[in-house]
């Protein structure tokens, strides 16, 4: 037998091929099936090789397996081989073994524990490259136990090794700190972390070690406020190092486009930010440096901008002097004008963060931000939208709204809902006139009617009823809109409602605010019938249309018969809701004709969130008090101490940071409002308007908030004044045994004042024979998002029970707690 070359010999004698051959073979496979075939063959060969005791090509086999794994094929049978290779004395095998460990093993696999010992040995290896492998693997996939076991080793390496290892040990320590949360382990690293660079003369350490040390210090300071205090004294050293980097001449090793070691600069700036946050002394010490960096850094390339960006973030987060702050905001302004889209994006992200506190400064750049609304990129658009909404104020509302409405007509679909609700909020807060407000809402409904939230319809209706002098104008406009397009459900619903309500004004023909159009009764009825019959109308819309038609029977004179016939047709409609209405209206025509005029007369002005839900009840006690005591502003509340302690609880209530803090005096906290636009209170307004039937107002909403082990707690609330609210909690017990010592405690966000009145009792007899009610009076002067945590404790059958429930939404309040 002849072999033409070594390769052939090799291939003939062993079933597997070298790595690159295999890759070539896989890539040349023309179909998925062929590829699978090649891979299966190779894997079989690899498996066979693994089973053999020792052969020279182990590392190549594992490398092949790793390639196969990267293509997405299963490779778990290689895990034990990785473990074996890591333990091998040969560097080539260790190298691939560790790579395999990082790729195939993660901390959730059991096999990962087996390498702990090897890592431990390799950490003390004489060769630094072997040590490096171990450190790298530990930092990549070390589990908490492994980290705990090996922490002392890392500690040792941090102190007494060459800089190559020291820098790696520092970053490995970062990983350990992240994994091991108990302070024991952390403090041992902390004490050693203190030594490397900052107490010794900084400049002696190479940049990479400094970098690692800074990252480690950042990590430690974030985990432990005491460590933060301790490291604050290093601020002068850090300032020195930073100055050295910024002012030094060209250093070829670390230079990136004229910036000396930008990675280290950015890290140091971040550490300075953490150390200077909320600390006057530290912030003062770094003021000059920050100013220097901000002015000296070249911003023509991305890397310079990266450093500038970090500087700006630092300036804005520490207690910097106002001149420096202005400088920072100006840099952001410059970023906004940059051609590079990335820079514009991050500029807007940062401006978003400070729009609450430095509102005026950001306002100066409003023009540029509004221009970004027209950018091609969806991420930039999103940022520009958020920022624009935050910048709307009483003085610029008209121009801003024009831009926003323009944006709405062309914005991408995923932003439409957000934009629409943002516009509504802004319009509500800053509307210069009612007519403008109504116009704006109508405009939104015509452009993005499909994306508005459900409560827009009742909100708009409520708004319209309040603007009594504009009824004529509104109904004309809506009628015209209805004629053009009946596909936008919200718009159609509002239009129908208005036509039903103010049809007489429409028919009168004259109108001051808009040019008059002669509308006959037939025209109006035609329009409503079109809506009723169109397949585009949703059932709710048709309900609106039917009721509107009915209401017109008292407002028009000639075509009452037509209305009668429409109504009776729908008496046999398939839709149950419509059928029921039609039947009822028919009855109004026939048996109760004497009542018809009274029933269908003009609705009274709807107040927003009116407290007067007097009709009906579901839990009688809750509603009995129609005139609860008014909350005086200066009313003595709970002694501050317990309130604080209870309020500490509220810090952990979660929810957005912004809403739990009191709103700043300057500048509207528009972002906070925006974020909470997912409001929940529309439901009850809808109940109020009902579906415009002349039915009694819906009963006061009482919401069950807690139900467990037979104990039920329900809640209802009534608004006393703009900021005051009375919440009534009612408890009942449906088990077979009595409950005694029933107590409730409540906690609310910091700025809300709470006063619990005496409960009606503390025992809940079995089987709901009696209830316990307790009233809680709240005062929300800062109008923060209202949440309440209630702790329930009681004794039942000799044992004590305790539970906590959090209430995020209150019936009768909208999202802003108003």
């Amino acid at each position: 037998m002849y072999f033409y070359n070594v390769n052939e010999l090799y291939r003939a004698m062993s079933p597997s091929v070298p790595l690159q051959e295999m890759i070539r073979a896989i890539r040349s496979a023309r179909t998925q099936c062929e590829e699978r075939g090649v891979i299966q063959r190779e894997c079989a060969a690899i498996r066979a090789q693994f089973r053999q005791a020792d052969n020279g090509g182990r590392s190549h086999n594992l490398a092949k397996l790793l390639y196969v794994h990267m293509l997405g094929y299963p490779a778990h049978f290689g895990q034990m081989e990785c473990v074996r290779m890591i333990a091998s004395p040969r560097y080539s095998e260790k190298r691939v073994g560790y790579l395999g460990a990082m790729m195939l093993l993660d901390e959730k696999q059991d096999a990962s524990l087996l390498i702990t010992n090897s890592i431990k040995n390799d950490l003390s290896h004489s060769n630094q490259y072997v040590q490096s492998l171990a450190l790298c693997t530990l930092a990549c996939m070390g589990s908490a136990e492994m980290c705990r076991d090996l922490a002392p080793e890392i500690d040792r390496l941090l102190r007494a090794s060459n800089s190559y290892i020291k820098k790696k040990a520092a970053l490995c320590a970062v990983h350990i700190v992240r994994k091991v949360h108990d302070l024991g382990g952390v403090s041992c690293i902390a004490s050693s972390g203190g030594t490397p660079s900052d107490n010794s003369i900084p400049r002696r350490e190479p940049n990479s070690v400094l970098h690692g040390a800074v990252v480690l210090i950042i990590e430690l300071c974030e985990r432990n406020p005491e460590t933060l205090e301790r490291f604050r004294k290093t601020v002068p050293d850090l300032v020195q190092i930073m100055k050295g980097l910024v002012l030094s001449g060209y250093s070829p090793e670390h230079d990136v486009a004229g910036i000396s070691d930008p990675f280290l600069q950015v890290r140091i700036l971040r550490l300075l930010r953490i150390l200077g946050h909320n600390n006057e002394g530290a912030s003062d010490a770094m003021n000059d440096l920050l100013a220097q960096v901000a002015t000296n850094t070249d911003s023509t390339k991305t890397v310079g901008n990266a450093v500038l960006y970090e500087t700006v973030l630092t300036v804005l987060d520490i207690k910097s002097e106002s001149g420096l702050r202005v400088l920072a905001v100006n840099i952001l302004g410059r970023f906004l004008l940059n051609n590079d889209r990335n820079i514009r994006y991050i500029a807007m992200t940062s401006l978003q963060k400070i729009v609450g506190t430095d509102h005026n400064a950001v306002q100066r750049h409003r023009g540029t931000i509004v221009d970004c609304l027209k950018d091609q990129d969806a991420s930039v658009k999103r940022r520009a939208l958020e920022l624009s909404l935050a910048l709307v104020s009483a003085s610029n509302v008209r121009s801003m709204m024009k831009e926003l409405l323009l944006f709405l007509s062309s914005c991408p679909a995923e932003l439409k809902a957000h934009a629409a609700s943002g516009i509504f909020n802004a319009a509500e807060r800053y509307a210069p006139s009612q007519r403008w407000h109504i116009d704006t809402i109508l405009h939104v409904l015509t452009t993005a009617g499909g994306d508005v939230r459900d409560e827009t319809v009742p909100n708009l209706i409520q708004l319209i009823t309040n603007a009594s002098e504009l009824h004529c104008y509104t109904v004309h406009k809506l009628y015209r809109a209805l004629l053009t397009d009946i596909s936008q459900q919200s718009l159609v619903q509002v239009a129908c409602w208005c036509i039903g309500e103010y049809g007489d004004l429409l028919l009168r023909g004259e109108c001051q605010e808009t040019e008059a159009v002669q509308v006959t009764e037939d025209d109006v009825l035609d329009a409503l019938e079109t809506v009723l019959q169109s397949h585009m109308s949703s059932p709710a819309t048709r309900g609106f249309a039917l009721t509107a038609t009915m209401k017109l029977s008292t407002r028009i004179t000639d075509n009452v018969d037509r209305i009668r016939s429409i109504v009776s047709i729908y008496g046999s409609c398939i839709d149950v809701e419509l059928q029921q209405r039609a039947v009822e209206y028919n009855a109004l025509f026939k048996k109760y004709d004497h009542m018809r005029a009274a029933v269908l007369e003009r609705m009274p002005v709807i107040e927003k969130n009116s407290p007067g839900h007097t009709n009906g009840e579901s839990t009688g006690e809750a509603i009995k008090d129609i005139q609860p005591a008014k909350v005086k502003q200066g009313e003595p509340l709970l002694p501050p101490q317990p309130a604080n302690q209870v309020c500490d609880l509220l810090d952990l209530l979660g929810g957005s940071e912004e809403t739990l803090q009191p709103c700043p005096a300057v500048g509207a906290p528009a972002p906070g409002l925006l974020i909470n636009t997912a409001s929940t209170a529309g439901g009850d307004l809808l109940d109020l308007l009902g579906v415009l039937e002349p039915a009694p107002l819906a009963p006061a909403p009482t919401v069950p908030v807690y139900e467990k082990d037979g104990v039920t707690l329900t809640l209802s609330c009534e608004k006393q004044c703009d900021t005051g609210l009375t919440v009534t909690l009612t408890a009942s017990n449906s088990t077979d045994s009595d409950i005694s010592s029933f107590t409730l405690q409540a906690a609310v966000p910091k700025s809300v004042q709470l006063h619990m009145k005496a409960p009606s009792g503390d025992s809940l007899p079995a089987r709901r024979t009696a209830k316990v009610t307790q009233m809680v009076v709240l005062n929300n002067p800062n109008k923060v998002n209202l949440k309440m945590r209630v702790r329930i404790s009681y004794t039942s059958q000799g044992s004590a029970f305790q539970d906590t429930v959090q209430i995020d939404s209150f019936p009768g309040l909208d999202a802003a707690g108003q």
């Binding site: 820098k167 992240r178 209870v646």
Partner: protein, 189 residues
């Protein structure tokens, strides 16, 4: 009755405090890279480095979703995008997309620089690197990455030092794979 309640609240307020250990405030300012992916324009993964513990299945799902999302973006778009609860920074170099997922909001620009530095390292090592180099020498690409980033953070900010270290390690590897006789290779000795 009233006094009893204040008392209760004092007592329970105190208990509240004990039960809920006030943990130190963890400011979310850590810049932690969760993973780095390299993939071709056809969506084939060329390198994946994970710095967070995730099962194989989860990794596959994330890779697939993210690759689809990025490939759907137009050329001139922003290099940053918000995806799930991560910030993704990506850049295309010739036929390869380099994509990093970072946890924090701050300073995406420096992440771009990190990506750029990695590309430079590959370029220097392979000499005008192209996708094929990374395909056929994927383990070398990993070794270079591991010499540049450790646990998701940059460990060496000097290009020269990284390349020097790789060189040394490669030498060490060659020594370890000392040439054997042909007979040894085919197992006849």
């Amino acid at each position: 009755m009233q006094i009893l309640y204040i008392h209760h609240l004092l007592l329970f307020g105190y208990v509240f405090r004990l039960n809920l250990l006030k943990l130190p405030v963890v400011q979310a300012t850590t810049l932690k890279m969760q993973f780095m992916l390299l993939f071709s324009r056809q969506g084939k993964l060329r390198l994946q480095k994970w710095y967070v513990p995730l099962s194989d299945k989860e990794r596959k799902k994330i890779s697939r979703d993210l690759v689809q999302t990025i490939l759907a973006r137009k050329p001139k778009m922003c290099s940053f995008l918000e995806w799930r609860d991560l910030k993704i920074v990506y850049k295309r170099y010739a036929s390869l997309y380099f994509c990093c997922a970072v946890e924090d909001q701050d300073n995406e620009l420096i992440t771009l620089e990190i990506i750029h530095r990695y590309v430079e390292l590959l370029d220097k090592y392979f000499g005008s690197v192209c996708e094929l180099d990374i395909i056929f020498n994927f383990e070398k690409a990993y070794f270079i990455l591991d010499e540049f980033l450790l646990g998701g953070e940059a460990q060496e900010t000097s290009k020269k030092n990284v390349l020097k270290a790789i060189e040394q390690a490669d030498l060490l590897q060659e020594e370890a794979e000392a040439p054997r006789s042909v007979l040894e290779e085919i197992g006849l000795t």
